[in-house]
């Protein structure tokens, strides 16, 4: 009985999930489908990492404005022409500047952006190391017995 119920519940969950997926697909801003699944994957990746210049905090894929639709068509056309992902990015940057890339390129100007987290981590590690070293040094100067040692000392005394 419980087994049957389990199966039923599983089916219901699956049906609910399928409905959600279908609904999400039909509500999506961008319903472009490229015949080649490989191109489709690249298309989705690119439109998710290019900025909609009009809304500025949305990707091309998520933005409902007309300019985003025009730029998505450009991405599709460039891919269909056999352009590489980097070609598509360069095409966009030539017109809209680095700002269109949600993932900034590494350059002299963006170096601090990419390196700052690593530098912060190193500083943090340095501070950590100093604190640990400082505490370790304290043990030598601490003459009070602790824990088991203290019990042994007490026994010996007793």
């Amino acid at each position: 009985m419980t087994h049957r119920l389990g199966t039923l519940r599983g089916l219901l969950v699956a049906a609910a999930m399928a409905t959600t997926l279908v609904a999400a697909r039909s509500w999506a801003v961008d319903t472009t489908e490229l015949a080649d699944p490989h191109l489709q994957a690249r298309y989705l990746a690119l439109t998710h990492e290019l900025r909609c210049m009009q809304c500025q905090n949305e990707t091309l894929a998520d933005s409902p404005v007309e300019l985003a639709a025009d730029l998505r068509h450009q991405v599709r056309d460039l891919l269909l022409q056999g352009k590489s992902d980097d070609d598509v990015r360069a095409w966009m940057v030539a017109r809209y500047g680095d700002f269109i890339l949600f993932r900034p390129r590494f350059s002299l100007r963006t170096a601090w952006l990419w390196l700052a987290p690593g530098v912060a981590l190193l500083i943090g590690a340095g501070v950590c190391w100093r604190i640990v070293r400082g505490r370790a040094a304290l043990v030598d100067t601490d003459t009070d017995p602790v824990g088991e040692d203290a019990a042994q000392t007490r026994d010996a005394r007793g």
């Binding site: 210049m53 009009q54 500025q56 007309e66 300019l67 025009d70 730029l71 450009q74 940057v93 030539a94 017109r95 809209y96 500047g97 680095d98 700002f99």
Partner: protein, 179 residues
Amino acid sequence: MNRFALPVALFAALVVVLAIGIKHSPQKGMIVSPLIGKPAPQFSLPSLGDPAHAVTSADLKGRWYLLNVWGTWCVECRAEHQMLIEARDTHAVPLIGLDWKDDDARAHEWLAQLGNPYETVAIDHSGSTAVDFGVYGAPETFLINAQGIVVYKYVGPLTRDVWTQEILPRLPAHAAGKS
């Protein structure tokens, strides 16, 4: 050494860095165009006045012009229109309109009602020329020199301040050209 010296110094350094960033940040929402100092994109578009006639970047070469991207659907364009008329009347530089993704009949109506500040208007139905110019919101205005190089770009309705402080000083004495 005081144990607070290092954190305070780091904090102070951060304040300085952020202050520099805020001071030098471009106007809010203004994105520096990568086209500045580069040749303006090539285009050949039908003219609004005479669709059989083409407005081309090649024909415009040889003199300075102000390319103004507009559309009748664009609310802010109405706000700048009076300034465009004023700019035309100074005869400082010819204005070329780029009617972006618009309806021709509406565009004619708009110019008849509000006055036509443009020497010529190119029609960009598909929006592809606007995209080549990196346009992301009308109105946008580009100052292009006689060599066809983009000298300056302004995003938003053209104001008297922008006209007198940014555009006029960039023009050579003889920019008015033939019209």
